[in-house]
Symmetry: C2
Subunit: 397 residues, 2 copies
């Protein structure tokens, strides 16, 4: 019998995946499950994108260019221009989702055994991409008490070694919803320039910011032309998660020419999804305004309802559509399973994502869950009430 690689054995399993059978079981028992566990928006995909697919006139579904079509990249550059990010089509490589952009970025800047510093908690799949790339994640802890603000820059300094190649942030953050301020990005800019590091910023939630605060991109006026790499995606922006179109953006020519070699090896990004993504750029501003109003309302009702539960702490989200919640339980993993396996309130229960999977430090986040507020307000109110009753029942067992 041939053997699986250590790399393969070390690939993490999705922190939600192991709960799926319990959720399916609950549904079989007639229980309605509210999914607070996944960042799949219920928002409709813009009609202009869906119509472009229906109206396509392709006869031979051929390879596109490895870096994506010139037309789409030019329109994207124009989109970035409107967001204070001055780039040309030459600074953009279209990828198969933000996922592939992350893989290309890691491969372009890191060799086997190199390190990337990431504030934790962070998007769980960074663990998978780093394992696949042979890169070690060095976490720097951000705290729920600070709403997961940027940790003191000295904490980063302490962790920088000869193996450190980049700092990776997600802004606004999944799972924290934290939005970095101009001052925070400035601090990161100073440290990456001082130590000759890359600053990789996952900005896929750029449009999802509330309270009239402006998103600060690493490619705005921070002088990071040689250092910054943006990871982007159409998945959340246009509720097009299934398209699998993202991009890597950098003004560093060597980064682009290197990432292009990774892109050439896999030939091209998906053609139909590129058509939809190009058309999606025509989405009217009113779509985003409505979506933002909706998410802000959802956030407000969620945070307000959560604050009524004793012993619960929340990191206040200023962007994206997630928050991390600390619960008065010993082990959020077991609690999440119990919610599906042993609990219901009037034949309803909730599925949440245990937050330990969003940390790479063993033992961190064990009392925390991530809630994605991708459900309508009434369902969020019902869900938080289920959580409240469940916590009391759980702790009285």
């Amino acid at each position: 019998m041939p053997t699986i690689s250590i790399k393969g054995k070390n690939m993490p399993e999705s922190p939600i995946r192991k709960l799926v059978p319990y959720a399916e079981d609950a549904k079989k028992r007639g229980i309605e499950v509210f999914h607070l566990n996944i960042g799949q928006p219920d928002i409709k995909t813009p009609d202009v994108a869906l119509q472009a697919i229906k109206n396509n006139t392709i006869e031979v579904l051929a390879y596109s260019r490895s870096e994506g079509s010139e037309e789409y990249r030019q329109k994207l550059a124009n989109y970035y221009g409107k967001h204070a990010i001055s780039v040309t089509s030459q600074d953009i490589i279209i990828t198969t989702g933000g996922s592939e952009a992350l893989l290309f970025a890691m491969g372009s800047v890191c060799d086997y055994g190199d390190e990337i510093i990431i504030p934790e908690p962070f998007y769980a799949n960074y663990n998978g991409f780093s394992t696949a790339s042979g890169v070690n994640i060095v976490p720097v802890i951000s705290k729920i008490e600070d709403n997961f603000a940027l940790p003191p820059i000295e904490e980063f300094e302490k962790l920088i070694s000869s193996k450190t190649k980049a700092i990776l942030i997600c802004n606004p953050g999944n799972p924290t919803g934290y939005l970095y301020s101009k001052e925070e990005i400035q601090k990161l800019a100073t440290i990456v320039k001082k130590h000759n590091l890359f600053l990789i910023a996952d900005e896929v939630y750029r449009e999802f910011v509330y309270d009239n605060v402006q998103h600060q991109s690493v490619l705005s006026d921070f002088g990071l032309e040689n250092h910054a790499i943006i990871i982007d995606s159409v998945s959340k922006r246009y509720s097009m998660c299934g398209a699998r179109i993202g991009c890597l953006v950098s003004k560093n020519k060597e980064v682009i020419s290197t990432a292009l070699k990774f892109a050439q090896a896999r030939l091209s990004p998906p053609t139909f999804a590129q058509i939809a993504s190009e058309a999606a750029l025509e989405t009217p501003q009113s779509y985003f305004d409505e979506v933002t109003v909706e998410y802000k309302a959802r956030r407000d009702v969620l945070i307000s309802e959560l604050s009524n539960i004793e012993g619960v702490k929340v990191g206040y989200p200023k962007g994206a559509f997630y928050c991390v919640v600390e619960l008065p339980v010993d082990n959020a993993d077991k609690f999440a399973q119990w919610l599906l396996e042993d609990f219901n309130l009037n034949n309803q229960t909730i599925m949440v994502a245990p937050a330990a999977g969003f940390y790479s430090t063993e033992g961190f986040g064990t009392k925390q869950i991530r809630i994605a507020y991708v459900l309508k307000k009434e369902d969020l109110i019902t869900s938080v009430n289920i959580l409240k009753v469940a916590l009391t029942t759980y702790n009285k067992r």
Copy 2:
């Protein structure tokens, strides 16, 4: 200035890419360029696949399952059953093209520094995937004089070390067009069982076999349930290169559960392309019959025309739509560039792929080119005539 990784620097460039500017330049000078350099078929995508896209009723373009939709995988299992490959949906993971299936396979069976033995010449992008995965390719030479048949199995034995994890074949072969016989697969089966290796078979050209010879899959009756991993793709089968849908197939449960973790990290394969690929399974047999008749006719005319050029050797292709041609020139790379830069016959010229990029051994294949017979017969005849005149002119300079 931060630095690019050694891995990134080592990523190979596409062997064709550097000729592209010369081809574009030639076109600007009014010269018609026949593209024999790329495996992009001119065959129409089956209507049933294109219609499925136009008729889709998606409102929220959501993530699909990481392993691909259950319906598609079940139908695929049924397709394999008709090709003497007995598998269930549980043995299949849908990937973003055959490219991603290769990355998942390499990551699942190899750690950094492990080795995979591949008969060369081989599909050039195996170099890129192995560099990206930190895997070393150990080539075993196959010869044009033997039509690129399987090298003697003792040659494989000599190369197997403690780091060897797999043998990788492409069957029928890109760039050689060689189709392995039952006896050859049997020999490979014996050696991988003896040494506890995986046998990874890239079978994306399964349908493209001529002369009434039957394709032999590694998952047919060779007793390789624990060893075999099939890499597959819809790209060539349905002329759907731009879809980016492939799959990884294995009866080895550990391979599937490991590859699934790689699949989960990148969330899901593209949704629209999955819809088209599922519908493509309804393509009538007449489509394949017509395509095969067309390619066989193209092959026959190509080989016949090439045999009229003095000093030219061809590996006789029994499948796929490529052949490797050895030319009476010192350096096929320079000749290919010269064809675009300095030569034309009645304002026409050809673009070919220098074959050195299909070898990993330095200095091999320098006199060879790959020709993709994806053009109609008249154009192939014109192309070979251009080649003939060009060779005479080139060698008289």
